[in-house]
Subunit: 292 residues, 2 copies
Protein backbone atom coordinates (compact mmCIF):
# COMPACT_ATOMS: atom_id res chain seq x y z
CA UNK A 1 0.00 0.00 0.00
CA UNK A 2 2.37 2.70 -1.25
CA UNK A 3 -0.36 5.06 -2.48
CA UNK A 4 -0.51 7.24 0.61
CA UNK A 5 0.36 10.83 -0.26
CA UNK A 6 3.36 12.36 1.53
CA UNK A 7 0.97 14.75 3.29
CA UNK A 8 -1.51 12.41 5.00
CA UNK A 9 -5.00 12.90 3.66
CA UNK A 10 -7.32 14.44 6.25
CA UNK A 11 -9.88 11.66 5.98
CA UNK A 12 -11.90 12.41 9.12
CA UNK A 13 -12.64 16.00 8.09
CA UNK A 14 -13.37 14.87 4.54
CA UNK A 15 -15.84 12.21 5.71
CA UNK A 16 -17.57 14.60 8.11
CA UNK A 17 -17.99 17.21 5.36
CA UNK A 18 -19.33 14.72 2.87
CA UNK A 19 -21.65 13.11 5.41
CA UNK A 20 -23.19 16.50 6.10
CA UNK A 21 -23.68 17.15 2.36
CA UNK A 22 -25.23 13.73 1.82
CA UNK A 23 -27.59 14.16 4.76
CA UNK A 24 -28.73 17.55 3.50
CA UNK A 25 -29.62 16.02 0.14
CA UNK A 26 -31.32 13.05 1.77
CA UNK A 27 -33.35 15.36 3.97
CA UNK A 28 -34.42 17.46 0.96
CA UNK A 29 -35.47 14.37 -1.02
CA UNK A 30 -37.84 13.03 1.64
CA UNK A 31 -41.56 13.86 1.82
CA UNK A 32 -42.18 16.84 4.10
CA UNK A 33 -43.33 15.89 7.60
CA UNK A 34 -46.84 17.21 6.89
CA UNK A 35 -47.32 15.01 3.79
CA UNK A 36 -50.27 12.63 4.04
CA UNK A 37 -50.31 9.93 5.24
CA UNK A 38 -48.18 11.33 8.06
CA UNK A 39 -47.18 7.89 9.35
CA UNK A 40 -45.52 7.04 6.00
CA UNK A 41 -43.60 10.33 5.78
CA UNK A 42 -42.53 9.89 9.41
CA UNK A 43 -41.43 6.29 8.93
CA UNK A 44 -39.42 7.20 5.81
CA UNK A 45 -37.68 9.98 7.71
CA UNK A 46 -37.01 7.70 10.66
CA UNK A 47 -35.43 5.09 8.37
CA UNK A 48 -33.26 7.53 6.43
CA UNK A 49 -32.27 10.06 9.08
CA UNK A 50 -31.32 7.74 11.97
CA UNK A 51 -27.59 7.86 11.36
CA UNK A 52 -25.22 5.68 9.41
CA UNK A 53 -21.77 6.26 7.96
CA UNK A 54 -23.16 7.22 4.50
CA UNK A 55 -20.28 5.21 3.05
CA UNK A 56 -21.95 4.38 -0.28
CA UNK A 57 -23.00 7.92 -1.20
CA UNK A 58 -19.58 9.23 -0.12
CA UNK A 59 -17.98 6.66 -2.45
CA UNK A 60 -20.30 7.84 -5.22
CA UNK A 61 -19.27 11.49 -4.79
CA UNK A 62 -15.57 10.60 -4.50
CA UNK A 63 -15.84 8.45 -7.64
CA UNK A 64 -17.23 11.43 -9.57
CA UNK A 65 -14.15 13.42 -8.57
CA UNK A 66 -11.75 10.56 -9.28
CA UNK A 67 -13.33 10.31 -12.76
CA UNK A 68 -12.41 13.94 -13.39
CA UNK A 69 -15.80 15.51 -12.64
CA UNK A 70 -17.18 17.25 -9.59
CA UNK A 71 -19.08 15.85 -6.62
CA UNK A 72 -22.03 18.06 -7.61
CA UNK A 73 -22.46 15.99 -10.80
CA UNK A 74 -23.18 12.91 -8.70
CA UNK A 75 -25.31 14.40 -5.99
CA UNK A 76 -28.59 12.84 -7.18
CA UNK A 77 -26.85 9.51 -7.77
CA UNK A 78 -25.33 9.54 -4.28
CA UNK A 79 -28.71 10.33 -2.70
CA UNK A 80 -30.35 7.56 -4.74
CA UNK A 81 -27.74 4.98 -3.71
CA UNK A 82 -28.27 5.75 -0.01
CA UNK A 83 -32.09 5.65 -0.35
CA UNK A 84 -31.75 2.29 -2.09
CA UNK A 85 -29.43 0.98 0.61
CA UNK A 86 -31.83 2.20 3.32
CA UNK A 87 -34.80 0.43 1.75
CA UNK A 88 -32.85 -2.85 1.83
CA UNK A 89 -32.11 -2.33 5.54
CA UNK A 90 -35.79 -1.65 6.34
CA UNK A 91 -36.85 -4.86 4.60
CA UNK A 92 -33.91 -6.92 5.97
CA UNK A 93 -35.00 -5.96 9.50
CA UNK A 94 -38.56 -7.33 9.01
CA UNK A 95 -39.75 -10.20 11.22
CA UNK A 96 -39.78 -12.57 8.22
CA UNK A 97 -36.10 -11.74 7.50
CA UNK A 98 -33.61 -10.91 10.28
CA UNK A 99 -36.28 -9.80 12.78
CA UNK A 100 -34.15 -7.00 14.18
CA UNK A 101 -35.74 -4.63 16.68
CA UNK A 102 -32.85 -2.17 16.90
CA UNK A 103 -30.59 -0.54 14.35
CA UNK A 104 -27.99 2.04 15.36
CA UNK A 105 -29.58 2.16 18.81
CA UNK A 106 -33.01 3.15 17.44
CA UNK A 107 -36.12 0.99 17.03
CA UNK A 108 -36.28 -0.45 13.50
CA UNK A 109 -39.12 0.75 11.28
CA UNK A 110 -41.28 -2.34 11.86
CA UNK A 111 -40.64 -2.19 15.61
CA UNK A 112 -41.86 1.40 15.75
CA UNK A 113 -44.52 1.59 13.01
CA UNK A 114 -45.64 -2.02 12.49
CA UNK A 115 -44.87 -4.53 9.81
CA UNK A 116 -47.23 -3.30 7.09
CA UNK A 117 -45.93 0.26 7.29
CA UNK A 118 -42.35 -1.05 7.27
CA UNK A 119 -42.92 -3.01 4.05
CA UNK A 120 -44.50 0.08 2.44
CA UNK A 121 -41.77 2.38 3.78
CA UNK A 122 -39.11 0.22 2.18
CA UNK A 123 -41.11 0.15 -1.05
CA UNK A 124 -41.46 3.93 -1.05
CA UNK A 125 -37.73 4.43 -0.42
CA UNK A 126 -36.89 2.25 -3.40
CA UNK A 127 -39.32 4.24 -5.59
CA UNK A 128 -37.83 7.50 -4.30
CA UNK A 129 -34.31 6.30 -5.14
CA UNK A 130 -35.24 6.02 -8.82
CA UNK A 131 -37.18 9.29 -8.78
CA UNK A 132 -34.16 11.16 -7.37
CA UNK A 133 -31.74 9.40 -9.71
CA UNK A 134 -33.81 10.51 -12.72
CA UNK A 135 -33.22 14.14 -11.70
CA UNK A 136 -29.49 13.85 -12.50
CA UNK A 137 -28.52 16.63 -14.95
CA UNK A 138 -27.90 15.04 -18.36
CA UNK A 139 -24.47 15.94 -19.74
CA UNK A 140 -25.10 13.54 -22.61
CA UNK A 141 -28.28 12.03 -24.05
CA UNK A 142 -28.85 8.72 -22.38
CA UNK A 143 -27.05 9.45 -19.11
CA UNK A 144 -30.17 9.09 -16.96
CA UNK A 145 -31.25 5.97 -18.83
CA UNK A 146 -27.85 4.43 -18.18
CA UNK A 147 -27.81 5.44 -14.51
CA UNK A 148 -31.26 3.93 -13.93
CA UNK A 149 -30.34 0.71 -15.73
CA UNK A 150 -27.07 0.38 -13.79
CA UNK A 151 -28.64 0.99 -10.38
CA UNK A 152 -31.55 -1.35 -11.16
CA UNK A 153 -29.23 -4.09 -12.40
CA UNK A 154 -27.10 -3.82 -9.25
CA UNK A 155 -30.09 -3.65 -6.90
CA UNK A 156 -32.39 -6.20 -8.52
CA UNK A 157 -32.86 -9.93 -8.95
CA UNK A 158 -29.32 -10.42 -10.32
CA UNK A 159 -27.73 -8.17 -7.67
CA UNK A 160 -28.50 -7.16 -4.10
CA UNK A 161 -31.78 -9.11 -3.94
CA UNK A 162 -30.11 -12.30 -5.20
CA UNK A 163 -27.54 -11.86 -2.44
CA UNK A 164 -30.20 -11.35 0.21
CA UNK A 165 -32.15 -14.46 -0.88
CA UNK A 166 -29.04 -16.64 -0.56
CA UNK A 167 -28.02 -14.93 2.70
CA UNK A 168 -31.35 -15.92 4.26
CA UNK A 169 -31.28 -19.46 2.89
CA UNK A 170 -27.72 -20.36 3.86
CA UNK A 171 -26.97 -18.15 6.89
CA UNK A 172 -26.67 -21.13 9.22
CA UNK A 173 -24.34 -23.24 7.06
CA UNK A 174 -22.73 -21.43 4.14
CA UNK A 175 -20.22 -22.93 1.73
CA UNK A 176 -17.33 -20.91 0.34
CA UNK A 177 -19.30 -20.54 -2.92
CA UNK A 178 -22.26 -19.11 -0.99
CA UNK A 179 -19.94 -16.66 0.81
CA UNK A 180 -18.53 -15.46 -2.51
CA UNK A 181 -22.04 -15.13 -4.01
CA UNK A 182 -23.51 -13.24 -1.05
CA UNK A 183 -20.49 -10.93 -0.60
CA UNK A 184 -20.53 -10.14 -4.32
CA UNK A 185 -24.22 -9.47 -4.66
CA UNK A 186 -25.46 -8.36 -1.26
CA UNK A 187 -22.54 -6.03 -0.58
CA UNK A 188 -20.08 -5.47 -3.45
CA UNK A 189 -22.72 -4.93 -6.16
CA UNK A 190 -24.01 -1.77 -4.45
CA UNK A 191 -20.50 -0.48 -3.65
CA UNK A 192 -19.70 -1.00 -7.32
CA UNK A 193 -22.88 0.71 -8.47
CA UNK A 194 -22.12 3.66 -6.18
CA UNK A 195 -18.75 4.19 -7.85
CA UNK A 196 -19.97 3.46 -11.39
CA UNK A 197 -22.90 5.86 -11.02
CA UNK A 198 -20.64 8.58 -9.67
CA UNK A 199 -18.23 8.15 -12.59
CA UNK A 200 -21.02 8.01 -15.20
CA UNK A 201 -22.83 11.06 -13.77
CA UNK A 202 -19.53 12.94 -13.94
CA UNK A 203 -19.17 12.07 -17.62
CA UNK A 204 -16.30 9.65 -17.00
CA UNK A 205 -15.00 7.49 -19.82
CA UNK A 206 -15.74 3.75 -19.55
CA UNK A 207 -12.17 2.48 -19.96
CA UNK A 208 -10.28 5.10 -18.04
CA UNK A 209 -12.77 5.80 -15.27
CA UNK A 210 -15.94 3.73 -14.91
CA UNK A 211 -14.33 0.30 -15.15
CA UNK A 212 -11.36 1.16 -12.93
CA UNK A 213 -13.63 2.58 -10.26
CA UNK A 214 -15.81 -0.53 -10.55
CA UNK A 215 -12.77 -2.73 -9.85
CA UNK A 216 -11.83 -0.54 -6.90
CA UNK A 217 -15.35 -0.71 -5.45
CA UNK A 218 -15.71 -4.43 -6.00
CA UNK A 219 -12.58 -5.18 -3.97
CA UNK A 220 -13.55 -2.63 -1.37
CA UNK A 221 -17.04 -4.15 -1.02
CA UNK A 222 -15.64 -7.62 -0.37
CA UNK A 223 -13.04 -6.27 2.06
CA UNK A 224 -15.72 -4.27 3.89
CA UNK A 225 -17.85 -7.37 4.36
CA UNK A 226 -14.94 -9.51 5.55
CA UNK A 227 -13.99 -6.82 8.08
CA UNK A 228 -17.62 -6.66 9.22
CA UNK A 229 -17.64 -10.40 9.85
CA UNK A 230 -14.37 -10.15 11.82
CA UNK A 231 -15.77 -7.33 13.95
CA UNK A 232 -19.06 -9.17 14.54
CA UNK A 233 -17.10 -12.21 15.73
CA UNK A 234 -15.13 -10.02 18.18
CA UNK A 235 -18.35 -8.60 19.59
CA UNK A 236 -19.50 -12.21 20.08
CA UNK A 237 -23.16 -11.42 19.59
CA UNK A 238 -24.92 -14.12 21.53
CA UNK A 239 -28.49 -13.19 20.68
CA UNK A 240 -30.50 -13.34 17.49
CA UNK A 241 -30.55 -15.63 14.50
CA UNK A 242 -27.22 -16.88 13.12
CA UNK A 243 -25.72 -14.50 10.59
CA UNK A 244 -23.86 -15.56 7.49
CA UNK A 245 -20.13 -15.08 8.07
CA UNK A 246 -17.00 -15.89 6.11
CA UNK A 247 -15.56 -17.19 9.39
CA UNK A 248 -17.78 -20.24 8.91
CA UNK A 249 -15.53 -21.29 6.02
CA UNK A 250 -12.07 -19.87 6.93
CA UNK A 251 -10.03 -18.98 10.04
CA UNK A 252 -9.78 -15.33 11.13
CA UNK A 253 -6.16 -15.04 9.94
CA UNK A 254 -7.10 -16.13 6.45
CA UNK A 255 -10.00 -13.65 6.43
CA UNK A 256 -7.65 -10.84 7.50
CA UNK A 257 -5.20 -11.75 4.73
CA UNK A 258 -8.04 -11.88 2.23
CA UNK A 259 -9.26 -8.41 3.22
CA UNK A 260 -5.70 -7.01 3.05
CA UNK A 261 -5.05 -8.45 -0.38
CA UNK A 262 -8.42 -7.24 -1.77
CA UNK A 263 -7.80 -3.75 -0.40
CA UNK A 264 -4.34 -3.60 -1.99
CA UNK A 265 -5.80 -4.67 -5.35
CA UNK A 266 -8.61 -2.16 -4.98
CA UNK A 267 -6.17 0.69 -4.35
CA UNK A 268 -4.05 -0.46 -7.33
CA UNK A 269 -7.10 -0.13 -9.57
CA UNK A 270 -7.13 3.62 -8.83
CA UNK A 271 -3.94 4.07 -10.90
CA UNK A 272 -4.40 6.18 -14.00
CA UNK A 273 -7.70 7.81 -13.07
CA UNK A 274 -7.94 11.39 -14.33
CA UNK A 275 -9.11 12.96 -11.04
CA UNK A 276 -8.30 13.01 -7.34
CA UNK A 277 -8.02 9.52 -5.83
CA UNK A 278 -6.56 10.30 -2.40
CA UNK A 279 -9.95 10.17 -0.61
CA UNK A 280 -10.77 6.75 -2.07
CA UNK A 281 -7.33 5.34 -1.21
CA UNK A 282 -7.51 6.75 2.31
CA UNK A 283 -11.02 5.37 2.79
CA UNK A 284 -9.91 1.89 1.69
CA UNK A 285 -7.03 1.99 4.18
CA UNK A 286 -9.32 3.15 6.95
CA UNK A 287 -11.88 0.39 6.39
CA UNK A 288 -9.07 -2.14 6.65
CA UNK A 289 -7.50 -0.66 9.79
CA UNK A 290 -10.69 -1.42 11.68
CA UNK A 291 -9.26 -4.95 12.03
CA UNK A 292 -5.54 -4.20 12.37
Amino acid sequence: MNKSPLTPFALEAYLADRKRDVEEHLFASLPAAETQPAILAEAMRHAVLSGGKRLRPILCLAAAEAAGGSAADACCAATAVELLHTYTLVHDDLPCMDNDLLRRGQPTVHARYGEAVAVLTGDALQTLAFEVLASTPERRTGTVARLVKELAAAAGAAGVIAGQVEDIRYAAAPTRAVIDFVFQHKTADLFKAACRLGAIAAGGDDDTAVDRLARFADGLGFAFQIVDDLLDAQEALADGTPELSCLAVMPADAARDWARSLTAQAVDALDGLPGETAPLAALADRLLTRII
Copy 2:
Protein backbone atom coordinates in the same frame (compact mmCIF):
# COMPACT_ATOMS: atom_id res chain seq x y z
CA MET B 1 -71.91 8.42 -24.64
CA ASN B 2 -72.07 9.28 -28.33
CA LYS B 3 -68.46 8.41 -29.13
CA SER B 4 -69.07 4.87 -30.39
CA PRO B 5 -68.03 4.52 -34.01
CA LEU B 6 -70.73 3.52 -36.52
CA THR B 7 -68.94 0.22 -37.04
CA PRO B 8 -68.73 -1.18 -33.50
CA PHE B 9 -65.13 -1.51 -32.35
CA ALA B 10 -64.04 -5.16 -32.06
CA LEU B 11 -62.88 -4.81 -28.46
CA GLU B 12 -62.57 -8.49 -27.56
CA ALA B 13 -60.19 -9.25 -30.42
CA TYR B 14 -58.24 -6.07 -29.70
CA LEU B 15 -57.84 -6.93 -26.02
CA ALA B 16 -56.80 -10.51 -26.77
CA ASP B 17 -54.15 -9.31 -29.26
CA ARG B 18 -52.77 -6.72 -26.89
CA LYS B 19 -52.78 -9.10 -23.93
CA ARG B 20 -50.66 -11.54 -25.95
CA ASP B 21 -48.19 -8.77 -26.88
CA VAL B 22 -47.96 -7.57 -23.29
CA GLU B 23 -47.37 -11.09 -21.98
CA GLU B 24 -44.62 -11.71 -24.52
CA HIS B 25 -42.81 -8.59 -23.36
CA LEU B 26 -43.35 -9.46 -19.69
CA PHE B 27 -41.99 -12.94 -20.28
CA ALA B 28 -38.92 -11.56 -22.05
CA SER B 29 -38.22 -9.07 -19.26
CA LEU B 30 -38.15 -11.68 -16.47
CA PRO B 31 -34.99 -13.48 -15.32
CA ALA B 32 -34.55 -16.79 -17.15
CA ALA B 33 -35.72 -19.82 -15.17
CA GLU B 34 -32.11 -20.98 -14.69
CA THR B 35 -31.01 -17.67 -13.10
CA GLN B 36 -29.64 -18.04 -9.56
CA PRO B 37 -31.18 -18.08 -7.05
CA ALA B 38 -33.77 -20.24 -8.81
CA ILE B 39 -36.43 -19.66 -6.14
CA LEU B 40 -36.39 -15.90 -6.83
CA ALA B 41 -36.61 -16.25 -10.62
CA GLU B 42 -39.42 -18.79 -10.16
CA ALA B 43 -41.36 -16.62 -7.71
CA MET B 44 -41.06 -13.59 -10.01
CA ARG B 45 -42.38 -15.64 -12.93
CA HIS B 46 -45.19 -17.04 -10.81
CA ALA B 47 -46.25 -13.53 -9.76
CA VAL B 48 -46.12 -12.02 -13.24
CA LEU B 49 -47.30 -14.89 -15.44
CA SER B 50 -50.31 -16.13 -13.44
CA GLY B 51 -52.92 -14.31 -15.49
CA GLY B 52 -54.61 -10.98 -15.14
CA LYS B 53 -56.42 -8.72 -17.58
CA ARG B 54 -53.28 -6.64 -18.30
CA LEU B 55 -55.55 -3.60 -18.26
CA ARG B 56 -52.88 -1.04 -17.29
CA PRO B 57 -50.31 -1.99 -19.96
CA ILE B 58 -53.08 -2.18 -22.59
CA LEU B 59 -54.11 1.37 -21.59
CA CYS B 60 -50.48 2.44 -21.93
CA LEU B 61 -50.20 1.06 -25.47
CA ALA B 62 -53.59 2.47 -26.51
CA ALA B 63 -52.60 5.87 -25.08
CA ALA B 64 -49.46 5.88 -27.23
CA GLU B 65 -51.68 5.39 -30.30
CA ALA B 66 -54.24 7.94 -29.17
CA ALA B 67 -51.37 10.42 -28.77
CA GLY B 68 -50.48 9.90 -32.41
CA GLY B 69 -47.59 7.46 -31.97
CA SER B 70 -47.38 3.68 -32.21
CA ALA B 71 -47.87 1.01 -29.57
CA ALA B 72 -44.25 -0.05 -30.16
CA ASP B 73 -43.09 3.31 -28.74
CA ALA B 74 -44.66 2.44 -25.40
CA CYS B 75 -43.80 -1.20 -25.15
CA CYS B 76 -41.15 -0.78 -22.40
CA ALA B 77 -43.44 1.62 -20.53
CA ALA B 78 -46.36 -0.82 -20.71
CA THR B 79 -44.20 -3.67 -19.43
CA ALA B 80 -42.89 -1.47 -16.62
CA VAL B 81 -46.38 -0.44 -15.54
CA GLU B 82 -47.52 -4.06 -15.28
CA LEU B 83 -44.38 -5.11 -13.37
CA LEU B 84 -44.99 -2.22 -10.99
CA HIS B 85 -48.62 -3.20 -10.55
CA THR B 86 -47.63 -6.83 -9.93
CA TYR B 87 -45.14 -5.89 -7.23
CA THR B 88 -47.90 -4.00 -5.39
CA LEU B 89 -50.15 -7.10 -5.55
CA VAL B 90 -47.38 -9.37 -4.18
CA HIS B 91 -46.84 -7.03 -1.22
CA ASP B 92 -50.58 -6.37 -0.68
CA ASP B 93 -51.12 -10.14 -0.35
CA LEU B 94 -48.55 -10.47 2.49
CA PRO B 95 -49.74 -11.70 5.91
CA CYS B 96 -49.08 -8.26 7.41
CA MET B 97 -51.33 -6.63 4.78
CA ASP B 98 -54.39 -8.42 3.31
CA ASN B 99 -53.10 -11.93 4.13
CA ASP B 100 -54.50 -13.42 0.92
CA LEU B 101 -53.60 -17.01 0.10
CA LEU B 102 -55.11 -17.11 -3.38
CA ARG B 103 -55.04 -14.74 -6.31
CA ARG B 104 -56.67 -15.65 -9.63
CA GLY B 105 -57.10 -19.21 -8.37
CA GLN B 106 -53.36 -19.66 -7.73
CA PRO B 107 -51.47 -19.58 -4.42
CA THR B 108 -50.10 -16.11 -3.73
CA VAL B 109 -46.33 -15.68 -3.72
CA HIS B 110 -46.02 -15.77 0.08
CA ALA B 111 -48.32 -18.80 0.29
CA ARG B 112 -46.13 -20.72 -2.15
CA TYR B 113 -42.61 -19.41 -1.47
CA GLY B 114 -42.77 -18.01 2.05
CA GLU B 115 -42.97 -14.49 3.36
CA ALA B 116 -39.31 -13.50 3.03
CA VAL B 117 -39.15 -14.55 -0.61
CA ALA B 118 -42.44 -12.74 -1.28
CA VAL B 119 -41.10 -9.47 0.12
CA LEU B 120 -37.95 -9.84 -2.00
CA THR B 121 -39.93 -10.88 -5.09
CA GLY B 122 -42.03 -7.73 -4.86
CA ASP B 123 -38.87 -5.68 -4.33
CA ALA B 124 -37.23 -7.24 -7.39
CA LEU B 125 -40.31 -6.62 -9.56
CA GLN B 126 -40.29 -2.95 -8.63
CA THR B 127 -36.57 -2.73 -9.49
CA LEU B 128 -37.21 -4.52 -12.78
CA ALA B 129 -40.00 -2.08 -13.66
CA PHE B 130 -37.55 0.83 -13.58
CA GLU B 131 -34.86 -1.16 -15.40
CA VAL B 132 -37.26 -1.98 -18.25
CA LEU B 133 -38.66 1.56 -18.35
CA ALA B 134 -35.14 2.95 -18.77
CA SER B 135 -34.81 0.91 -21.99
CA THR B 136 -37.46 3.05 -23.73
CA PRO B 137 -36.01 4.41 -26.99
CA GLU B 138 -35.39 8.15 -26.54
CA ARG B 139 -37.07 10.20 -29.23
CA ARG B 140 -36.04 13.34 -27.38
CA THR B 141 -33.35 14.02 -24.76
CA GLY B 142 -34.91 13.65 -21.38
CA THR B 143 -37.70 11.22 -22.32
CA VAL B 144 -36.43 8.40 -20.11
CA ALA B 145 -35.76 10.79 -17.23
CA ARG B 146 -39.33 12.06 -17.49
CA LEU B 147 -40.83 8.56 -17.73
CA VAL B 148 -38.92 7.40 -14.65
CA LYS B 149 -39.92 10.49 -12.67
CA GLU B 150 -43.58 10.14 -13.68
CA LEU B 151 -43.81 6.45 -12.82
CA ALA B 152 -41.96 6.94 -9.54
CA ALA B 153 -44.17 9.88 -8.55
CA ALA B 154 -47.32 7.85 -9.29
CA ALA B 155 -46.06 4.71 -7.56
CA GLY B 156 -44.36 6.25 -4.54
CA ALA B 157 -45.11 7.84 -1.20
CA ALA B 158 -47.40 10.48 -2.76
CA GLY B 159 -49.18 7.95 -5.00
CA VAL B 160 -49.98 4.23 -4.88
CA ILE B 161 -48.16 3.66 -1.57
CA ALA B 162 -49.99 6.56 0.11
CA GLY B 163 -53.25 4.96 -1.06
CA GLN B 164 -52.28 1.56 0.28
CA VAL B 165 -51.31 2.97 3.70
CA GLU B 166 -54.72 4.64 4.06
CA ASP B 167 -56.52 1.58 2.67
CA ILE B 168 -55.02 -0.57 5.43
CA ARG B 169 -55.67 1.98 8.16
CA TYR B 170 -59.29 2.78 7.33
CA ALA B 171 -60.60 -0.38 5.61
CA ALA B 172 -63.08 -1.13 8.39
CA ALA B 173 -64.62 2.36 8.67
CA PRO B 174 -63.78 4.73 5.82
CA THR B 175 -65.12 8.25 5.44
CA ARG B 176 -65.97 9.72 2.05
CA ALA B 177 -62.66 11.64 2.16
CA VAL B 178 -60.77 8.37 2.72
CA ILE B 179 -62.60 6.75 -0.20
CA ASP B 180 -61.62 9.62 -2.49
CA PHE B 181 -58.01 9.51 -1.28
CA VAL B 182 -57.61 5.75 -1.65
CA PHE B 183 -59.40 5.58 -5.04
CA GLN B 184 -57.24 8.44 -6.32
CA HIS B 185 -53.91 7.14 -5.13
CA LYS B 186 -54.21 3.39 -4.88
CA THR B 187 -56.01 2.96 -8.20
CA ALA B 188 -56.33 6.07 -10.37
CA ASP B 189 -52.72 7.24 -9.99
CA LEU B 190 -51.40 4.11 -11.74
CA PHE B 191 -54.11 4.20 -14.45
CA LYS B 192 -53.11 7.81 -15.03
CA ALA B 193 -49.41 6.99 -15.11
CA ALA B 194 -50.08 4.18 -17.62
CA CYS B 195 -51.73 6.64 -20.02
CA ARG B 196 -49.28 9.49 -19.40
CA LEU B 197 -46.28 7.20 -19.92
CA GLY B 198 -47.75 5.83 -23.14
CA ALA B 199 -48.36 9.34 -24.46
CA ILE B 200 -44.92 10.62 -23.42
CA ALA B 201 -43.09 7.59 -24.86
CA ALA B 202 -44.94 8.20 -28.14
CA GLY B 203 -43.71 11.79 -28.22
CA GLY B 204 -47.16 13.21 -27.45
CA ASP B 205 -47.56 16.89 -26.74
CA ASP B 206 -48.44 17.84 -23.16
CA ASP B 207 -51.52 19.97 -23.90
CA THR B 208 -53.03 18.01 -26.75
CA ALA B 209 -52.21 14.49 -25.64
CA VAL B 210 -50.61 13.83 -22.24
CA ASP B 211 -53.01 15.92 -20.16
CA ARG B 212 -56.15 14.77 -21.98
CA LEU B 213 -55.17 11.15 -21.60
CA ALA B 214 -54.42 11.79 -17.93
CA ARG B 215 -57.96 13.13 -17.44
CA PHE B 216 -59.38 10.11 -19.26
CA ALA B 217 -57.37 7.68 -17.13
CA ASP B 218 -58.15 9.43 -13.88
CA GLY B 219 -61.92 9.10 -14.43
CA LEU B 220 -61.51 5.56 -15.68
CA GLY B 221 -59.47 4.58 -12.61
CA PHE B 222 -62.14 5.87 -10.23
CA ALA B 223 -64.93 4.23 -12.26
CA PHE B 224 -63.01 0.94 -12.32
CA GLN B 225 -62.67 0.95 -8.54
CA ILE B 226 -66.34 1.79 -7.97
CA VAL B 227 -67.38 -1.05 -10.29
CA ASP B 228 -65.00 -3.38 -8.43
CA ASP B 229 -66.65 -2.50 -5.13
CA LEU B 230 -70.13 -3.10 -6.62
CA LEU B 231 -69.07 -6.50 -7.98
CA ASP B 232 -67.42 -7.48 -4.67
CA ALA B 233 -70.66 -6.63 -2.87
CA GLN B 234 -72.65 -8.83 -5.29
CA GLU B 235 -70.30 -11.72 -4.64
CA ALA B 236 -70.94 -11.16 -0.93
CA LEU B 237 -67.55 -12.36 0.18
CA ALA B 238 -68.10 -13.61 3.68
CA ASP B 239 -64.51 -14.50 4.52
CA GLY B 240 -61.39 -12.48 5.06
CA THR B 241 -60.67 -9.10 6.54
CA PRO B 242 -63.05 -6.24 5.72
CA GLU B 243 -62.10 -4.47 2.49
CA LEU B 244 -62.42 -0.77 1.96
CA SER B 245 -65.48 -0.09 -0.22
CA CYS B 246 -67.28 3.01 -1.41
CA LEU B 247 -70.53 1.24 -0.46
CA ALA B 248 -69.62 2.00 3.16
CA VAL B 249 -70.36 5.67 2.44
CA MET B 250 -73.02 5.59 -0.32
CA PRO B 251 -75.84 3.35 -1.56
CA ALA B 252 -75.28 1.13 -4.61
CA ASP B 253 -77.45 3.34 -6.85
CA ALA B 254 -75.36 6.38 -6.05
CA ALA B 255 -72.18 4.41 -6.72
CA ARG B 256 -73.54 3.28 -10.12
CA ASP B 257 -74.43 6.87 -11.01
CA TRP B 258 -70.99 8.02 -9.91
CA ALA B 259 -69.27 5.41 -12.11
CA ARG B 260 -71.49 6.32 -15.10
CA SER B 261 -70.81 10.00 -14.77
CA LEU B 262 -67.04 9.50 -14.36
CA THR B 263 -66.95 7.24 -17.42
CA ALA B 264 -68.84 9.79 -19.52
CA GLN B 265 -66.43 12.53 -18.46
CA ALA B 266 -63.48 10.25 -19.16
CA VAL B 267 -64.68 9.51 -22.69
CA ASP B 268 -65.30 13.25 -23.26
CA ALA B 269 -61.65 13.92 -22.42
CA LEU B 270 -60.64 11.86 -25.48
CA ASP B 271 -61.97 14.59 -27.79
CA GLY B 272 -59.31 16.25 -29.90
CA LEU B 273 -56.57 13.66 -29.48
CA PRO B 274 -54.46 13.30 -32.64
CA GLY B 275 -54.59 9.48 -32.84
CA GLU B 276 -57.04 6.59 -32.64
CA THR B 277 -59.28 6.73 -29.55
CA ALA B 278 -61.85 4.03 -30.37
CA PRO B 279 -60.12 1.34 -28.26
CA LEU B 280 -59.98 3.58 -25.18
CA ALA B 281 -63.64 4.64 -25.55
CA ALA B 282 -64.74 1.03 -26.05
CA LEU B 283 -62.69 -0.10 -23.06
CA ALA B 284 -64.27 2.56 -20.84
CA ASP B 285 -67.76 1.45 -21.92
CA ARG B 286 -66.90 -2.19 -21.30
CA LEU B 287 -65.60 -1.59 -17.79
CA LEU B 288 -68.86 0.17 -16.98
CA THR B 289 -71.14 -2.50 -18.49
CA ARG B 290 -69.81 -4.99 -15.97
CA ILE B 291 -72.38 -3.45 -13.59
CA ILE B 292 -75.25 -2.71 -15.99
